[in-house]
Structure formats: structure tokens, C-alpha cells
């Protein structure tokens, strides 16, 4: 069994974010990065399948040199090898461009299973995983909270609006985009981190993957127009007085607005 895990390196959740000079993205210089939180759950799920039986886990990421650290971390946690698409030509790609690069790797690897996070902490599009599945002509399930039966077909539970769950069965190969919280993500051990130094990271360009002309700002159909801090809202009302007074006026407000 072979499992491909797609992971993205995103700004650290503690990092202070500033908007860049031309207002199209955040300022990335000197920023601390980490693996997208959703993707850590995807990796953990793959590693659990590996622990339960025989599987090779291949981690895949797109981005500049700094991405090596995210891949090494994944290797330190137990992934077997990595593919790193390090190519400035991919910069400025929209979700479809990214999905084409990842789909090209998935096709080349022809795994039994692809696991990704549901979305990225920075972009929040949730578009790439279904696109990869579509480009590779495989079934997919998003917002996955439980995976069963890794050996035959897969039975997965998906989270729906309002807390409802949906159970679906998928034949393999397929793609799962997982929700946070479906497992408890492991820590890399010190020995694992040291061993990761020797695991292979295969560096590729978009051209190597045969999608050189389909990526980058030129090929993008969606362009980032503007990133900005929303202006501070007005109309907030501060309730003052003793706790009882505040609770009383809050109850009146809630009734006034017909929320109860």
C-alpha cells in the first residue's frame, strides 16, 4: 500500500502577520512557518494506517527552500520519503495550478490513497483536494472525521453542517480531505528527527512533472486582487454596571432581537 500525503507550509499560528508592499499577500520575510494544521492530521492518519499494516508514506509539498523543514518534520514523524516541488515558476498559481502540480505527482506515484487537509490555514479555499481528485479521476471525500477499513474499500465519516455525520464508502484509489480533530497528532521523537536527515527528498520542477506551462501567475484564472485588514466595525454597545445589571440588559437585548 502506498499513501501520498499533500502538505503545505503556512505561517506559524503565533506569527505576527503584516500585509506586503503591494497589498496582495502577507509579508513573508523573517516569518516563522509550520505545517498547515489540517495537514498534520492528514499525515497522522496516513502514519496510523502505516503503523497498522504495511504502507509507504510519501509526503509532497510545493514551495521555496524553507519547505524542506516541513518535509523533514514529516519524515521525522515517520513518513518514508518526500517530493518537494521547488520552482519559482509555480509562484502565483491559483488553486487549479497547485492541484495540477500535485495531481502530476499523484499520477506518477499511483498511490492507493491520497490524504490531504480539508483546507489551508492561510488560504482557506478548500479547493485543491477535490481538484486533485478530479484531475486524477478518483473519488474523494471531504471533511473526513473517521476512516475505517484501510485494506479493502474505505468507509469514512464526513462532518456535515449542524453536527450531522454522513457515512460514505469509497473504492481505492481515492482521496480524503480530513478535518482537524480526527486523531491525536503524534510528536516526532528525537531519534525520528535524527533519522529524517537520511531520508530522501526528491526535488522537482513543474517542467519535470510535465505541467510547466499550466502553472504560475500567467496560467492562473483566479488572481489575488487585494488583501486588507477590514476597518474596525462600529455600533458595538458596551453594557455597564454590576454583573446582575449586565446580565439583565443582555437578556432584554436578546429578547428584543427575537433571538430567544
Amino acid at each position: 500500500m502506498k499513501i501520498v500525503v499533500c502538505l503545505k507550509q503556512v505561517p506559524h499560528s503565533d506569527a505576527r502577520l503584516d500585509i506586503n508592499g503591494d497589498g496582495t499577500w502577507i509579508q513573508e520575510d523573517n516569518l516563522k512557518f509550520e505545517i498547515n494544521s489540517y495537514d498534520t492530521y492528514a499525515l497522522e492518519e496516513a502514519l496510523r494506517i502505516k503503523d497498522a499494516g504495511e504502507a509507504e508514506v510519501v509526503v509532497v509539498s510545493i514551495g521555496p527552500d524553507r519547505v524542506t523543514q516541513a518535509l523533514r518534520t514529516a519524515l521525522g514523524m515517520g513518513a518514508d520519503r518526500a517530493v518537494h516541488v521547488n520552482d519559482s515558476a509555480v509562484e502565483g498559481s491559483d488553486a487549479l495550478g497547485i492541484a495540477k502540480v500535485l495531481a502530476a505527482i499523484v499520477k506518477a506515484e499511483s498511490p492507493d490513497l491520497v490524504v490531504t487537509g480539508l483546507m489551508s490555514d492561510d488560504g482557506n479555499f478548500s479547493a485543491v483536494p477535490p481538484m486533485i481528485a478530479e484531475l486524477c479521476d478518483m473519488p474523494s471525500a471531504t471533511s473526513v472525521l473517521k476512516v475505517d477499513g484501510a485494506n479493502g474499500s474505505l468507509t469514512v465519516e464526513r462532518e456535515l453542517e449542524g453536527g450531522a455525520m454522513e457515512v460514505v464508502e469509497l473504492p481505492k484509489p481515492c482521496l480524503l480531505a480530513v478535518q482537524t480533530g480526527l486523531n491525536q497528532v503524534r510528536y516526532a521523537s528525537l531519534k525520528g528527527i535524527m533519522a529524517a536527515k537520511k531520508k530522501p527528498i526528491d526535488v522537482k520542477t513543474a517542467a519535470d512533472l510535465g505541467v510547466g506551462d499550466q502553472v504560475g501567475a500567467g496560467a492562473a484564472k483566479v488572481r489575488m486582487e487585494k488583501v486588507y485588514q477590514p476597518p474596525k466595525g462600529e455600533g458595538a454597545e458596551l453594557l455597564e454596571g454590576s454583573t446582575d445589571d449586565v446580565v439583565g440588559s443582555l437578556m432584554n437585548k436578546v429578547k428584543e432581537l427575537g433571538l430567544l
Partner: protein, 415 residues
């Protein structure tokens, strides 16, 4: 070495995550409750495979010691520290110390005394059988250790004023004495008790120094409750009382050989322990300083007085600049420690003392200045610098006071 390697940074990241998830939520209980730090430390050992690494190190050391006992290799060969060429071994020990000290220096003290002092004393002075009996459990943290030298009447002059004694009675020793300020004393499973051999007619200062291994619950041994103290609340400190504790030769570290040694040798062996303790202090200070600097810079940008962030005022800038100088110096001292270990070298006693003196003073100065940057908030427990300032102070007292470090440095220079 000029910076942490990619692997080292990964270790730092993963340890930081552990601290965020497993230490920070318990900080209140560790600091103001009575939560001993051992379960969290053991969880850290299990999570990162530290017990397994300790077991491997133990196996290597024992294999060598067995060869030495069989006369296959010279004794010095077995004791020699081998460099790993990379310093990874040292880095793997120092990075968790640094990161833990950003939040909880007491946990490092409890850990360091158990594995570093007590475990190392057994591994350094014990026979192969003694290493196997007590060493492994201490190094893996399965057992908590305490290392007891200080007494109510003897601190800096630890050997000179020492009253604890071992009297020979046939095949047995009868141990008496009291020890104080003993880290892990209230909870320790395994205690290295340092005392003088009762040698009638020999001047107290010239008597042999012996190390015995005691265990919790032995008849005649009392372990006190934790003492109340200024800081380092997450590290339980207590007293030990021994009244006619009877032990056999098997509990004397080194057994018969320890009795044959000359008076000065026991002191020399303890000195080796002091040296190791002193280099760990630089890593502790670095963690405290890094955190204080980080918090101070943040506050200097946020806190506004007279319509300006206080970081705009030169008097505040000077504090931040001095903190950064201390951080860089400590970082370089830690790198030097890693580099020496990579090459299998260690510092001279004078150098280790100089490093400890600087590190302790820098940590205290930086932490107190961080309180000052925070003003009234700095004095409040809610802002973490208050705890770090109280915790930092101990670095100038234990493992040899500042004054004792100065004496050691001067002696080295003037020798």
C-alpha cells in the same frame, strides 16, 4: 558551530509544541499548587524517546565498564568521553533544557538533579553491578533521584563542615546526619547520600568522603515535606534525616575501592559533578533570558505612555539592548558546550565556573529588568516575568554561589 542545525531546530519546534500542550496548561498548578513535576517529565521522556536514548547510552557505558573491570581496557579508557563529531547528543539534552526554562526552570532542576547529578554519580562512581542496580532507572526517569551534600551547617564549604558520617560496624555501615535544600528530597526513590567515614584520630577535614545509595522507606531515613521557597516552585526541595541507617558494602558507591582511595579522591569525583552542573546552568539561563527578552520587546511595543510606545524611550531601549547582549553571549556559550562535546572535550574547572557565574548573573539581571519594563504588571503574578525573576535568582546560589565561582576562577588564574 554558529547556529542550530535544521535537525536541532526541528527538535526545538517539537519540544515547544510539547510545552505548549503539556506544560503551560499545568503551570498554575506547578507554581501555586502542589503538583510535582515528575509525571509531566516522564511524559516528555516517553514522547520523545528520551528513555530509549538513555538506555542506549547506558548500555554503551556499561559495556565499557565491564571491559575495564575485566582488565581488557584501561580504566581511563572506559571513563573517556567520546565526541560524536556532531554535538547532536549534547544538543538533544540542552535544547529541552532551554525550552523548558522559558516557562518552568524548576522542572529542569528536578530533572537535572535526578538524571544529571544522581544518575551521573551512580554511573561515575558505581561498580558495574551498582550501575545496573540503580543507574538505568535514574537515567530513564523511572526512578526519581536526589543528590545530597548540603547540610544545615555546611553549604559552600560542603566537605569541610560536613557532619554526616558513616561508622563501620563489621560488614555494615551505620549512617547518621541531616541534609537540607535537597532537590527532589521529598519524593526521591533513590538518594545519593554523601558523608564522611568515621575515622577516629583523623582530623575531620582529612576524612574520606563516601557516597552511599539509599532508597525511600529504608528504616531510619526520613524525607521531609517540600520546603516553602522564593521561587522554583515546580522543583520540590526538602530535608533528609538519617538516624542509624544500616547499609551493607553493596550500597557504598565503588564498594571496597572507595575505602582504599585517598582522602582527596572523593572530593575530586564530586568536583567532576559540579562541573557538569555548571555547564547546564548556561542553557537554563539562556531559556530564561530568551523568554524575558521576547516578552519585554513585545511589551515595549504595546505599552503606551505619553502617547508613545515605551520602546521609543532610550532608557527602555538600553534595557532591551543589554538583554540582547546577554542572549547572544549565552547562546555562544551553549554553542561552545555543544562543540566541545562534539569533540569529546570538556571545559576546565575555572572555565566552567566562569560560565556559570556569567550565566547566573545575566539571567538575574535580565529577568529583573524585564520586571522593570513591565512596571506594575511586572510585579504581578499574571505576567510571567515575575515568576522568572524569582526563579532566576537560584542560579546564583545553587551549584556553587557566585562568590564560590569567583573563588574557583581566581584560583585557576593564580595557580
Amino acid at each position: 558551530m554558529i547556529e542550530w542545525s535544521e535537525q536541532h531546530q526541528m527538535i526545538r519546534d517539537v519540544v515547544q509544541r510539547f510545552i505548549r500542550e503539556e506544560v503551560v496548561p499545568h503551570l498554575e498548578d506547578l507554581e501555586h499548587g502542589d503538583l510535582p513535576p515528575y509525571d509531566i517529565l516522564r511524559k516528555m521522556f516517553a514522547t520523545f524517546g528520551m528513555s530509549e536514548l538513555a538506555r542506549q547510552r547506558f548500555d554503551r557505558q556499561v559495556a565499557k565498564a565491564e571491559q575495564a573491570e575485566a582488565g581488557e581496557i584501561p580504566k581511563e579508557e572506559a571513563r573517556k568521553r567520546e565526541g560524536d563529531g556532531t554535538g547532536d547528543g549534547a544538543a538533544m539534552q540542552l535544547i529541552p533544557i532551554i525550552e523548558l526554562c522559558r516557562y518552568c526552570p524548576g522542572m529542569v532542576t528536578a530533572l537535572g538533579v535526578s538524571t544529571g547529578l544522581t544518575g551521573a554519580a551512580v554511573m561515575g562512581k558505581g561498580t558495574v553491578a551498582q550501575k545496573k542496580r540503580w543507574g538505568l532507572d535514574l537515567l530513564t526517569l523511572d526512578k526519581i533521584g536526589a543528590w545530597a551534600i548540603t547540610e544545615p551547617g555546611s553549604g559552600s564549604d560542603a566537605f569541610g563542615g560536613m557532619k554526616s558520617s558513616a561508622r563501620r560496624e563489621g560488614d555494615e555501615f551505620v549512617l547518621n546526619g541531616s541534609k537540607t535544600f535537597i532537590t527532589n528530597g521529598p519524593y526521591a526513590d533513590t538518594i545519593v547520600f554523601i558523608c564522611k567515614l568515621d575515622e577516629p584520630g583523623v582530623d575531620s577535614r582529612d576524612r574520606k568522603i563516601l557516597h552511599f545509595v539509599l532508597e525511600k522507606g529504608m528504616p531510619g531515613l526520613t524525607q521531609s515535606k517540600p520546603m516553602k521557597k522564593m521561587g522554583l516552585h515546580s522543583s520540590p526541595t526538602g530535608e533528609l534525616f538519617l538516624q542509624d541507617v544500616r547499609v551493607g558494602m553493596d550500597r557504598l558507591l565503588g564498594e571496597e575501592k572507595a575505602l582504599e582511595s585517598k582522602a582527596g579522591e572523593g572530593r575530586q569525583a564530586s568536583k567532576a559533578t559540579f562541573q557538569m552542573e555548571r555547564s547546564g546552568v548556561a542553557a537554563m539561563a539562556l531559556g530564561i533570558v530568551e523568554r524575558c527578552l521576547e516578552l519585554s520587546v513585545k511589551y515595549a511595543k504595546e505599552r503606551v505612555q505619553w502617547d508613545q510606545p515605551i520602546g521609543e524611550y532610550q532608557l527602555i531601549q538600553e534595557k532591551l539592548a543589554r538583554m540582547e547582549v546577554a542572549r547572544m553571549n549565552l547562546q555562544n556559550l551553549v554553542f561552545r558546550t555543544v562543540e566541545l562535546s562534539a569533540q569529546g572535550k570538556s571545559m576546565s574547572f575555572g572555565e566552567a565556573s566562569a560560565m556559570k557565574l556569567y550565566a547566573a548573573r545575566a539571567a538575574v539581571e535580565v529577568a529583573m529588568e524585564a520586571v522593570q519594563v513591565y512596571g506594575g504588571n511586572g510585579y504581578m503574578a499574571e505576567y510571567h516575568v515575575e515568576q522568572l525573576a524569582r526563579d532566576a535568582k537560584v542560579l546564583q546560589i545553587y551549584a556553587g554561589t557566585d562568590e564560590i565561582q569567583i573563588r574557583a576562577i581566581a584560583r585557576d588564574l593564580l595557580a
